[in-house]
């Protein structure tokens, strides 16, 4: 499909520039304003803004306005990936504790005096 071609073209074009890769690396450590991003590079703010537009169109970066400042962040996909990763571990540990409960309760003799707990 044409849309996939365009999306890929944009992504690769966006990644092909060293300044843009450096911007992505900076944003991977936390959100930043355009001013923050411009500081380490020997380029003007408008030039940084232009790079950001390319990154935005490629779906790699998002900009959110906070009053007069616009804050840049990596697109939510990476963050969603992280949340899913932690969710996988939540399932993993829930299953482990379930296995532990089954095993231990099957092999622990019940005290005869306290048998009010319903057996599951």
């Amino acid at each position: 499909m044409v849309t996939i071609h365009r999306q890929l073209d944009r992504t690769f074009a966006a990644l092909a520039d060293p300044t843009r890769r450096a911007i992505l690396a900076r944003l991977a450590t936390g959100n930043a304003t355009v001013g923050d991003l411009a500081r380490p590079f020997r380029v003007s703010r408008p030039a940084i803004s232009k790079h950001l537009r390319v990154l935005e169109r490629a779906g790699l970066v998002r900009r959110a306005r906070e009053g007069r400042v616009s804050r840049c962040e990596l697109d939510a996909d990476a963050m969603r990936g992280a949340a899913e990763w932690i969710e996988r571990y939540r399932v993993f540990w829930t299953n482990r504790l379930g296995d532990l409960k089954r095993y231990v309760e099957q092999t622990t003799p019940q005290p005869p005096t306290h048998s009010k707990e319903p057996r599951s």
Binding site: D77, G81, I86, W93, R96, Y103, V104
Partner: protein, 153 residues
Amino acid sequence: MTSTATNSLQVSQTIRATRERLFRAWTDPDELMHWWRMDEEGWAFADASVDLKVGGRYQLGMTGPDGKTHRAVGVYREVDPPARLAFTWDWEDPAHRVGETLVTIEFNSVGEGMTEVILTHERFTDAARLGGHERGWTQLLKLLDRLVEEEST
């Protein structure tokens, strides 16, 4: 910035057993082999080694559906029987490294012969970032796959 809420997780389970018994179940290889089976989706217990002291290492091996053994490895940070156990958690295989995350297990007495087990897994910062990156690249490669497929038809 990622909030701390997404950098940790906590699960708990109330179990009809003493704290001593449960602490042993977590730290004795002969006990671990009975319940650390991961039998969902073809996973099985492979081996366990435990050097139960602060600074001591453990290994927990699991055989996956692919027949390969994957080992969780780490170092005990707190050994306080029967109340508390903490250890770092990572994978032996460099390809699956997640950075040094920390697992803490608390054993709380909640009545005659009943124990609440609370497990916290935290310090996911690096791991989560890895996971996110991995996913980003996976998506890009999938896209490339689709593109190549189209071009060859």
